[in-house]
């Protein structure tokens, strides 16, 4: 009896200690939780409310409920007979943004993977140096770096001068203010966000598995497809998310390299809060973007967990 009582007492003390430990651990995440709550979640709630209100004339809102902002994304209301007419202008901007962000993601994956593989296969003592080089662009402001791209690719820029100089072209190539220019800028700004997670997961890769693949008659390309890529998948997914989602919302790059003529979602939303003075519509645009991204991620998670379950079963 005494032993049993002692044991249960010990168990109680242990449980209490465990609770304290968990509580302390939760406190560690406190400061970050507060910051995200105040500056992340709260503004989102405000934006959600605003997106259902009527715009005031000089910015701000009038406190009247409406769904007109969401209707206005796809339709234009005729001023005279009040009928709705389908206008795909905004949809097109969204579509182009997704295509540009998609191309940027694929291009940075194609360029980033070999880079990350190279870094991960250096001797451990040299790897930090390569990581340092990857983070070097962050030492300069994105705005300045984007203007630098503008200087290089403009009609009288470095690229065109060089090509003219060696006689490849007579007339300058119009690169600046095109979708290609935007993509180039996005690729340049977001490439490190692809390389770093790829590097992290390739660095953890056990290269004896690569040797085992070679030993089992797999050629280089088959080792890559059957062993390296599947094992680097967490890094690939993280990298793609880190590039694709910020690229969707990019503002500075399309503004400077697209010349304001080629709207992307980011600059479209910014216009609503600026020159158009239509805050509710801007909020609605932002929420439509968020909904699309969330649905896409959800669909992705569903499809992969489903597959994993089948494999385990």
């Amino acid at each position: 009896m005494a032993v049993a009582a002692e044991a249960s007492h010990i168990a109680l003390v242990q449980a209490a200690a465990e609770r304290r430990f968990l509580l302390n651990r939760r406190r560690l995440a406190g400061p970050a939780t507060i910051i995200v709550g105040v500056f992340g979640v709260l503004p989102l709630i405000i934006m959600l409310i605003y997106s259902f209100l009527v715009p005031a004339t000089y910015g701000g809102v009038e406190w009247k409920f409406t769904i007109e902002n969401y209707v206005g994304f796809l339709f234009q209301r005729d001023i005279f007979d009040d009928t709705l007419q389908f206008v795909p202008d905004y949809l097109q901007i969204y579509f182009r943004t997704f295509v540009l962000a998609g191309f940027t993601t694929v291009a940075s994956l194609i360029l980033g993977f070999p880079t990350a593989y190279f870094m991960a296969t250096r001797p451990p003592s040299q790897r930090n140096f390569w990581v340092f080089l990857i983070t070097l662009p962050f030492w300069t402001n994105l705005l300045i770096r984007t203007y630098a791209i503008q200087l290089i690719i403009r009609d009288e820029g470095l690229v065109n001068d060089a090509l003219k100089g060696i006689g490849v072209i007579d007339q300058p190539l119009h690169i600046l203010y095109t979708n290609f220019a935007i993509m180039l800028g996005l690729l340049y700004s977001f490439l490190p966000f692809m390389v770093l997670p790829l590097y992290t997961s390739l660095e953890k890769l056990d290269f004896r598995l690569v040797e085992a693949g070679f030993d089992l008659y797999a050629t280089r390309s088959r080792v890559l497809r059957r062993i390296v890529i599947p094992l680097a998948k967490p890094g690939i997914i993280a990298g793609c998310i880190l590039v694709f989602i910020p690229a969707l919302g990019a503002y500075v790059t399309p503004l400077i390299l697209g010349g304001g003529k080629q709207h992307m979602i980011g600059s479209l939303i910014a216009t609503q809060f600026g020159t158009s003075r239509n805050w509710p519509f801007g909020c609605a645009l932002a929420f439509i973007l968020m909904a699309i991204v969330l649905l896409a991620l959800l669909a992705y998670v569903r499809s992969t967990t489903g597959k994993a379950q089948v494999l385990h079963g």
Partner: protein
């Protein structure tokens, strides 16, 4: 040819790094490994045994020399073009594949038809006593089971030569001892040439047909386990395999087929002479502790005893202060035959002492 060579290394050298940092891992190694042989590369870490294995597998290319597989030059072929398979020290099972997918991998890569792959996978799972576990993930298996999967994955390809890189080192003692017998049986039933790398002399002695003892990038001695143990050619081999007393002695005349070697402390040993060792020359003798008998006497005294279960190890101090270690089986009741302080005479049968080349 009955005794066809499975693998032949001709004057193979491997240097890692360049300039001042260069490390010569293999230094002109030549060895012929026969077909259907259980061949062991034995040596301490850094002796070049794993490098030699990796050169045969194709993970490294030799700096100099030739490697032949069944008479064909392979030294410049990539690993996926060599008819050899490897069982890795860490198993290197693909974590994102099931056991069955792991075993099937090599066959898939060689475009074997699916029904044949499935049949082979089932056969291999049975061979390594893992039937029914094909759907598991490597992470769901114990170390011993992972070991079996690694074996099955390599054997599924019916390689000409199976390379095993310290495959038992990660297992605990009991499992390791069981796997020794199993590996040996597997080698006999499959008839595949096994090249086994280990630093464990007991593993090498129990399983091998022949052993190459390596040190400093060179093969020190090549022979059957009995030869390696009983007739070590040099100090390194005698020291690395089993326990040995090294005794310096002076040759002091002939005694039949043997020469009489005068050691310090009044100990005389009879050993077979080797070339170059004439009357009066100083030699090193190696004597295994278990070959020495002790009797009550006054040549030396027991300075220390260490109980090791079946036997007791004695450290016997001789008259000149040198000591010699002796291993004797314990009496039937388990007690040691002598205790510390006992006066003993040392009796070494003629030929038990082995004269070393260096």
């Amino acid at each position: 040819m009955v005794d066809a060579a499975a693998v032949e290394a001709r004057n193979v050298s491997k240097v890692f790094g360049t300039g001042a940092d260069a490390v010569r891992a293999l230094d002109g190694v030549s060895v012929t490994i026969r077909a259907n042989e259980f061949f062991t590369l034995l040596g301490p870490s850094g002796c070049g045994k794993t490098t030699l294995l990796r050169l045969i597998a194709g993970f490294e290319l030799p700096t100099a020399g030739e490697i032949l597989l069944e008479g064909q030059h392979v030294e410049h072929l990539p690993p996926y073009q060599r008819p050899v398979n490897t069982v890795f020290q860490s198993y290197a099972l693909f974590p994102h594949m099931t056991v069955a997918q792991n075993i099937a991998f090599g066959l898939e890569m060689r475009n074997v038809p699916r029904p044949d792959i499935d049949a082979t996978v089932t056969e291999m799972l049975g061979l390594v006593k893992m039937a029914g576990l094909g759907g598991r993930r490597p992470t769901q298996l114990s170390g011993g089971q992972q070991q079996r999967v690694a074996l099955a994955r390599a054997l599924a390809n019916h390689p000409k030569v199976l390379l095993l890189d310290e495959p038992l080192s990660a297992l605990d003692l009991k499992l390791r001892q069981g796997m020794r017998t199993e590996l040996k049986n597997l080698q006999k039933t499959t008839g595949i040439t096994f090249i086994f790398v280990t630093h464990d002399q007991e593993e090498a002695l129990t399983m091998s047909d022949r052993i190459a003892v390596m040190s400093q990038g060179k093969i020190q001695q090549l022979g059957a386990p009995l030869d390696i143990y009983e007739q070590p050619v040099n100090r390194f081999v005698a020291d690395f395999i089993g326990d040995t007393n090294f005794v310096t002695a002076t040759i002091d005349g002939r005694a039949g087929d043997y020469v009489r070697c005068r050691c310090g402390g009044g100990l005389d040993l009879l050993a077979s002479p080797i070339g170059g060792a004439g009357h009066g020359s100083k030699v090193t003798l190696a004597v295994r502790p278990e070959k020495i008998m002790l009797k009550p006497g006054d040549l030396g005294t027991v300075a220390q005893t260490v109980y090791v279960g079946t036997d007791t190890n004695y450290e016997v101090r001789l008259g000149d202060g040198s000591s010699i270690s002796v291993r004797l089986q314990n009496a039937a009741d388990g007690h040691a035959q002598f205790t510390v302080g006992d006066g003993v005479a040392v009796d070494v049968p003629a030929g038990a002492a082995r004269m070393l080349q260096d």
